[in-house]
């Protein structure tokens, strides 16, 4: 596509006071032969945008370069639909607000990023959707028929989707279905309720869009979002069905390795769930029940985490004790009473019961002694120790996800049979901004399988995950991607004639989007793809590219920067920044009017995982003195939006540093740093430090060659 470029420079927001905009116009006109180049004092206003619209029509522009604010600002104002491809050049936050006004170096920075923008715009091609042979299926599979699953199913069904619930038990209800009473689910949050699971189950079973498969287990799920094929073992035999998206709501099991608390030594020491069954029976032969909180929880040798629900479970069960016998007492020994949100009201009202006794303490032993049990504890509220005789001890044990050490979905992904786990075994993604998103596209975890939570949250989780599943099917149907690049139509193009079957892209794809044929050639599952570009960064042959994001495009942008001679004593550093977190952090540097070195050229990328090492070589060839990369946190508690991107980049950069050393270059010239979205001050500090390092190691010896 031939580029007919229009360049629009905004002088508002202080831009005109800081930068010599005439020079920018000159570059647009002379170096890049822009068809139109205008400067406007309020470009995002109606007058400005209308002018652009007029020029698109009148001058036949197909590319518009907006030199104004951050690409994260005024997105609607500068959206011209399919008429023109818009490229944003951020001379506000990244130049005018973070550089010395009217300075030679400031102008040079603005000029360089305009050049980068012009090149990027020229190299951007219109997008075409990926092609698949089959239609996207709109059925939503809900795995697990408990509180979470049934709510997910109901909401998805109400939105018009057909839903299949697979439940391994012979009834719906799950964990909440086995309770004598449920926690309050609405205001005033003080009184126990009937669990109401039978009513919910009958609404689910009565819904025309919902098919319930009881006593059923999944045998295999293959395919990709919109195109999953499930093999199901039901009571009446094997079935196969086509599924669009999946809500994983299989709930939890209880942690029962509780020998250290006398569990198993006596029938007077029971777990929360055993006590629930005793209370269900309607008779309780104990007048004096002691609840031990954090049994096997928040303990490095057992479950290191808090299960969020056990404090509430014991408060609830203490009420059973009191309801069943008004002269019986319930004593709760807790480490920290954790009753989040509205459940503070439930705690307060339970505590107000004269027969419920609470103290903070560390339980030191639970020893059955004939028909009673002796519980000892240290550090009570009065800082003393405590010894209690109980008729019955209830160990409030924590929960683990059903998926822990148990295959449930049985996926045929090259990456494994189920969704990857976080540190504690929950099949969640570590990225805090996107709840329900697992690391498998189209599969959404909800309820206690995702993280320990109270029933109202589980209910909401089910609904939220159902909406995510619907969103996935809708967007996938438009051939676009789901989070985090939601609605992105781009798709990597594999120029397979030059593929060497090295399998780097297929192995490194964080989402299993790339299978291989027998020879090792990549075979995409387009609907699993999240468009991060990790494949593009991985490919040594540079044959994986997007129409609007390619190895060549970014290499050309690097080369477009003007690198002064060594004598001018103006070093140049290329900063490759992840557009998810580091880019907004850089915007905040400008918003907070911090000064950042004018010698740095920032190059935004989709994810550090998409950084092809050839860019590093080309930057050094072009005379850049150093390259600094800013990406998201990686490791166990990663914040990378594409799970593995920044980690992969880190490995690649270690190799690059090694290569630099072999070439007798200083390895310090290439550095990678993890930046969180709020760490703008750190971004500035790291950049300053890097500039000092570059000054110390001296100019790039290849400069000028």
């Amino acid at each position: 596509m031939d580029s007919i470029q229009g360049v629009y420079i905004c002088s508002g927001c202080g831009i005109g006071d800081a930068i010599d905009l005439a020079k920018l116009e000159k570059i647009a006109n002379e170096e890049y032969s822009a068809k139109v180049c205008r400067t406007h004092e309020f470009l995002c206003g109606t007058q400005g945008t209308e002018q652009i619209g007029k020029d698109i029509e009148g001058e036949g522009l197909n590319k518009v370069v907006v030199c104004a604010c951050s690409l994260r600002a005024c997105t609607d104002a500068f959206d011209f639909g399919d008429d023109a491809i818009v490229e944003r050049v951020n001379i506000r936050e990244h130049v005018a607000w973070s550089q010395e006004p009217k300075h030679e170096d400031t102008d040079m920075l603005a000029e360089d990023i305009l050049r980068m923008g012009m090149v990027k715009s020229q190299k951007t091609e219109p997008l075409a959707p990926f092609e698949i042979e089959e239609e996207i299926d709109r059925t939503i599979l809900v795995v697990g028929g408990g509180l979470t699953g049934m709510n997910a199913a109901l909401y998805a069904a109400r939105a018009g989707h057909s839903v299949v619930i697979v439940e391994k038990e012979d009834r719906l209800g799950g964990g909440a279905g086995g309770l004598k009473k449920q926690l309050p689910m609405s205001a005033p949050w003080t009184d126990l309720e009937d669990p109401g699971m039978d009513d919910l189950a009958s609404r689910v079973q009565g819904h025309e869009n919902i098919t319930v498969k009881l006593s059923s287990e999944i045998q295999e799920i293959s395919g990709a979002p919109g195109l999953f094929d499930m093999k199901l073992q039901t009571a009446s035999g094997e079935e196969t069905m086509r599924i669009g998206a999946i809500v994983l709501a299989v709930g939890h099991r209880y942690y029962e390795k509780l020998d250290h608390l006398g569990y198993g030594e006596s029938d007077r020491v029971v777990t929360s769930s055993q006590f629930e069954a005793m209370a269900q029976g309607g008779k309780l032969d104990a007048r004096n029940v002691v609840f031990v909180q954090c049994a096997g929880s928040r303990d490095e040798e057992h479950l290191p985490y808090c299960s969020a629900i056990c404090c509430l479970t014991s408060l609830r069960q203490a009420r059973y004790v009191r309801e069943m016998n008004p002269d019986a007492t319930a004593t709760i020994l807790y480490r920290d009473m954790r009753t989040a949100g509205h459940y503070e009201q439930f705690y307060a009202s339970t505590q107000d019961d004269e027969g419920i006794f609470l103290t903070k303490c560390d339980v030191t032993s639970v020893k059955p002694n004939g028909s009673s049990v002796v519980v000892t504890a240290d550090n009570t509220l009065l800082g003393e120790s405590l010894e209690l005789d109980a008729d019955l001890v209830v160990l409030a044990n924590g929960l683990v996800p059903q998926t822990l050490e148990q295959e449930i979905l049985k996926l045929t992904y090259r990456l494994g049979t189920d969704c990857p786990d976080t540190k504690y075994g929950f099949p969640d993604s570590e990225f805090i901004c996107f709840p329900y998103e697992t690391r498998r596209t189209g599969i959404y975890a909800a309820g206690t399988v995702r993280q320990p939570m109270e029933p109202p949250l589980a209910r909401e989780d089910g609904i939220g995950a159902a909406l995510k599943a619907i969103q996935c099917l809708e967007i996938t149907g438009q051939r676009k991607t789901v989070h985090p690049r939601a609605l992105d139509l781009s798709f990597p193009d594999f120029f397979l004639q030059r593929c060497t079957q090295c399998k780097r892209c297929t192995e490194e794809c964080p989402f299993g989007a790339l299978d291989e044929d027998e020879k090792g050639t990549p075979k995409p599952n387009p609907t699993r793809c999240r468009r991060c570009g990790v494949c593009m960064g991985a490919c040594p042959e540079r044959i994986v590219n997007f129409a609007n994001y390619s190895v060549d495009m970014l290499a050309s942008m690097i080369k477009a920067c003007e690198v002064p001679d060594e004598e001018e004593e103006k070093p140049r550093v290329l900063a490759i920044i992840c557009e998810n977190d580091a880019y907004p952090a850089l915007d905040m540097v400008g918003v907070n009017k911090l000064r950042i070195s004018p010698f740095v050229r920032f190059l935004p990328v989709r994810c550090l995982g998409s950084v092809n090492t050839v860019w590093i070589t080309q930057a050094l060839d072009a005379g850049f003195d150093g390259i600094i990369l800013f990406g998201c946190k990686h490791g166990d508690d990663y914040q990378c939006h594409f799970v593995k991107g920044s980690e992969l980049c880190n490995t690649r950069m270690e190799n690059v540093q090694e290569k630099l050393t072999q070439m007798a270059l200083e390895s310090e010239r290439v550095q990678l740093h993890e930046i969180a979205v709020n760490e703008y001050d750190r971004l500035k500090e790291l950049t300053d430090e890097f500039m000092e390092t570059i000054e110390e190691v001296g100019p790039n010896p290849f400069k000028g060659f």
Binding site: D327, M337, A348, F357, T380, L381, L382, E384
Partner: protein, 352 residues
């Protein structure tokens, strides 16, 4: 181990709640109460630990706890308590319970601590005084026939002195025994305490009472300080004046009756009487007008306030009737006055 919790006692929790600490279970042990209390010592601060004991029904610990007696019920704690547990009310309930617990003989505690016994508590002095009247006159005699009013004709001074002295002494003995029991229990439950002897402790207490120094640090219930001071000095003054009159009657019976309002003893008596009546009225007003700030008012509190006020009012009534020579009114009012003084002496002294 002395502070540690033991088996929770549901029954005691119920008793404390009934005695005015109905919000005690609401406490979530944040210690705001102990921090805002200006009287709470740095070591072993209260009322947080008392709140925890109360929640767990720790009867032994609470009745032997000296700290509840440091509380002046200013109610800063109840005002600042984020959960509305009203620690001031709980301490008051504990004190009320402890009074009944240590009252000697124990039925005395019931008489003043249990609203169900109010008629009996008042009937005792009525019966005893009527009996004395009957014995002095060989039959009930309320209003002597002749004009000038001499209360001694209604009840001879000697009878009154002997009767009241004996009863008051018995009551003092009962109170003393109760106090000693408390002192012994306190020592048993807190090894190493007390750091001062009983006598020194009592002297310190009287000094504090005379000055009301700690009372004045109170925040929420500040008006109580002055009401309490007036009552205290009114009561103490009347006690001293009455004592002098009794001694005068024994040493120089002729100097009595005092028939002029300008007599120094009359002036002293009337001034202290005014102090008592004003103090009691003020205290009752405080309790009624802002019950939240005043804190819970146990039956025990009301009983004494009313008895004190009635002593003052009937005293003035009897004096007024006597000087106005309203014979039909003077003797019955005097009788009621004697009933309340009787009640005051036996019931105030016996429970510690």
């Amino acid at each position: 181990m002395s502070d540690s919790l033991t088996k929770p006692d549901l029954e005691f929790v119920r008793q404390l709640k009934a005695a005015g600490g109905e919000n005690l279970k609401k406490c979530f042990q944040c210690a705001t109460c102990s921090v805002v209390c200006k009287l709470s010592p740095d070591e072993r601060p209260y009322p947080r630990k008392e709140m925890i004991w109360a929640q767990w029904g720790q009867r032994e610990k609470l009745v032997t706890d000296p700290d509840v007696w440091l509380c002046h019920q200013c109610n800063d704690c109840s005002t600042y308590c984020p959960r509305g547990a009203r620690p001031g009310d709980v301490l008051s309930a504990v004190r009320s319970y402890a009074i009944q617990h240590y009252a000697t003989p124990s039925f005395m505690g019931k008489l003043v601590g249990d609203p169900g016994y109010v008629l009996l508590a008042l009937a005792i002095p009525v019966i005893v005084l009527l009996g004395a009247n009957y014995m002095a006159h060989g039959g009930l005699m309320f209003a002597p026939a002749h004009g000038e009013i001499h209360f001694s004709e209604f009840l001879p001074h000697a009878t009154v002195n002997v009767l009241f002295s004996i009863l008051f002494t018995l009551a003092l003995i009962g109170g003393g025994v109760g106090l000693l029991r408390f002192w012994k229990d306190m020592k048993k439950h807190r090894p190493g305490a007390p750091k001062v002897g009983l006598i020194k402790a009592m002297v310190d207490t009287f000094v504090e009472l005379a000055l009301h120094g700690k009372f004045r640090t109170c925040g929420t219930a500040k008006p109580r300080t002055w009401a309490h001071l007036l009552i205290f000095y009114g009561f103490a003054g009347l006690f001293v004046v009455t004592g002098i009159v009794v001694i005068m009657l024994i040493l120089a019976p002729d100097s009595y009756p005092i028939n002029t309002l300008t007599h120094p003893l009359k002036i002293a008596g009337n001034l202290t009487g005014i102090s008592l009546v004003v103090g009691c009225t003020w205290a009752i007003y405080n309790r009624l007008s802002d019950p939240d700030a005043a804190g819970s008012s146990t039956y025990y509190d009301w009983f004494f306030l009313v008895v004190l006020l009635m002593v003052g009012i009937t005293g003035f009534g009897a004096q007024f009737a006597r000087f106005r020579e309203m014979t039909t009114l003077a003797y019955p009012v005097y009788f009621v006055h004697m009933v309340f003084i009787f009640a005051l002496l036996i019931y105030l002294a016996s429970p510690p």
